[in-house]
Amino acid sequence: MSLLEIQDLVQHFPIAGSKSVVRAVNEVSFSLEKGETLALVGESGSGKTTIGRCVLGLIRPTGGRISFRGIDLGGSKTVRSLELRGKLQLVFQEPTESLNPRQRVFEQIDEPLRALKVPRPDREKKVREAARRVGLAEALLDRYPAEISMGLQQRVGIARAMISDPEVVVLDEPTSALDPTARAEIIDLLIRIQRDLGTSYLFISHDLSAVRQISHRIAVLYLGKIVEQGPSATLFAQPSHPYSVALLSSVLLPNPRIRSGRAIRLSGEIPSPINLPPACYLAGRCPLVIDPCREKMPPVETVSANHAVRCYRHGEVAKLVPDFDSFGRFQSEADRILGAGVPAQ
């Protein structure tokens, strides 16, 4: 039994004054094990944020089942017990907006404990411990959010999420608002916390370098559908869906010699998720499109262990991009460049 299990999750939003619906999430299934990071990767309109919200019970899904430790979490958070809510936590994308500007850092971190009705002396101790864990100096606890940098604000956000000892934390683009160096620091912090506490992460992001650093498994989403799912290393080295390939090749690594393959280029932009055809959603943009793609949604096919893809031509995709792993190639170069001046262990 997985820690968190999502089965055929569907989320449709009706449009006011119209019969159409926004099909944000379309039959998405995945699971999350203890101490594991699953990255939900996709661009705007991929439904990744909506999935996170459903998991937390912030919105009631149109269909599907979400279970935590085998317990059906049901619809919205109102039916969840306080204790259960503490077990599933969230870190927001915009630290500046997710923090109350009129509350001191201490009170922000303390907030979930107050909601969980933890007695005051315990709270004080836990807040200080959480602050230490995320690398916030004691002195910062008395500051207001506006007085500290964005990177530090995001640390406050993480401390707040961690304070109720959650088992699953949904990280909704926690680094996209940050500068590159702050981003790297936050990623390292999250990795360390996971190692120490065994927390499971649902890491929602379009930042693939960060995804590569933090995640064990990856699910690639396109228009609310998982098009490919597999272990992180496998997916980066040998993607099998044209969209994954296009997404991965758009990553620009800081080394002019390592240019991602341009074997598959998508044309146009992401269509609106309002009236989706009962076919492959990528058919209109995909260079490998064949007739069946336009007629029927491709079934999930297994490529290798734990690696599944939704594409009629996944075999050809793999052949088109042999030796795809630009991250891997970047690595050896990076080790040489970064290794200079670093004392040996």
Binding site: A139, E147, A182, R183, D188, R192, A334, D335, I337, A340
Partner: protein
């Protein structure tokens, strides 16, 4: 991708198109010393060159663009230095003459295009504004040229898009419109300020390819401002790192990524690394965060630097040419065998 095309007669002399010397921008503050947004920035852009300017938010990268455009928000002002462009010092020109240069000789591609385009005017009208003002074209010629521009930036169905309003465009499409406006008067120099940061990654790739193609076809020089050092490795000829209003390191692309010497540059690169040990080292281990800044006299990067030594606190490092064309502002640059 090579540095400069040579069919342009000016190139025989390899004349710089833009030459910033000791540009200093300060914001006077009541009662205390003025806060300095740019400190002695010296940069030369060769004709046809694409220079990547990398910095985090607040580093002064956008301020440099604004200084070149002479659109520094008040009360900030250029207190020192010269910005030579086309035989004139932009720092000395009056607003009237500057308006003839902006949009015509120096064009800007900005981020968040849907916020920057006038919501009440059609795409065609906004392109026409610039064309009519700078080139005095008549109505018919304007429309034809606008249509032609939309075709050049590969907007699908350009005829119809001319009459579209900004809110009817997708992010990528609006970005292309802004590029079209930048190209409208065939400028010699384009500044791209974080132009692709708001786009989805697959769309960003398309737009970057387009920008690079258009500038190299025309031999236009470009300053590509971004906070993503990864982009510059693939779309720029030379890279400059700016931190706290100062240029920290500048070099040609190959040299820059092969032998980065400033600890801040290495830190930026480390953010991409898989190797956790190296990444941790450059990020400064697991130190507890406090908001303390650098001392007034020393290096502006001292409080974040893993190679910090006593000299960094007391003495401000100068921008030193370590190899030809490779300048570094650091007392203890990283050395590789």
């Amino acid at each position: 991708m090579s540095a400069a095309p040579t069919n342009n007669p000016i190139d025989i002399f390899n004349a710089p198109i833009l030459d910033c010397e000791n540009v200093t921008v300060a914001f006077p503050q009541y009662g205390t010393a003025a806060s300095v947004a740019l400190r002695d920035v010296s940069l030369t852009l060769r004709t046809g060159e694409v220079l990547g300017l990398v910095g985090e938010s607040g580093s002064g990268k956008t301020m440099l663009a604004r200084a070149i455009m002479r659109l520094i928000p008040p009360p900030g002002e250029i207190t020192r230095g010269s910005i030579r462009f086309g035989g004139k010092d932009l720092a000395e020109l009056d607003q009237e003459s500057l308006r003839k240069i902006r949009g015509r000789d120096v064009a800007m591609i900005i981020s968040n295009p849907r916020g920057e385009l006038d919501p009440l005017q059609t795409v065609g009208q906004q392109i026409a504004n610039v064309l009519r003002h700078h080139l005095n074209l008549d109505r018919k010629a304007t429309r034809e040229r606008a249509l032609d521009l939309l075709k050049q930036v590969s907007i699908p169905d350009p005829q119809r898009r001319l009459d579209a309003y900004p809110h009817e465009l997708s992010g990528g499409m609006a970005q292309r419109v802004v590029i079209a406006i930048a190209l409208a008067c065939s400028p010699r120099f384009i500044i791209s300020d974080d132009a692709t940061s708001g786009l989805d990654v697959t769309v960003q790739a398309q737009v970057l390819e387009l920008i690079r193609k258009l500038v190299s076809e025309r031999g236009t020089s470009m300053m590509f401002i971004t906070r993503d050092i990864g982009i510059t490795a693939h779309y720029c000829d030379r890279i400059a790192i700016i931190y706290a209003g100062e240029i920290m390191e500048i070099a040609d692309r190959e040299v820059f990524f092969d032998d980065p010497q400033h600890p801040y540059t290495v830190l930026l690169l480390a953010a991409f690394a898989q190797n956790e040990r190296l990444r941790r080292y450059w990020l400064g281990e697991d130190k507890v965060r406090e908001s303390s800044g650098p001392s007034a006299t020393g290096c502006s990067f001292q409080h974040r630097c893993v190679r910090f030594q006593e000299r960094c606190r007391s003495e401000h490092p100068a921008l030193v040419e370590r190899q030809p064309g490779h300048l570094v502002r650091c007392h203890y640059p990283v050395e590789r065998p």
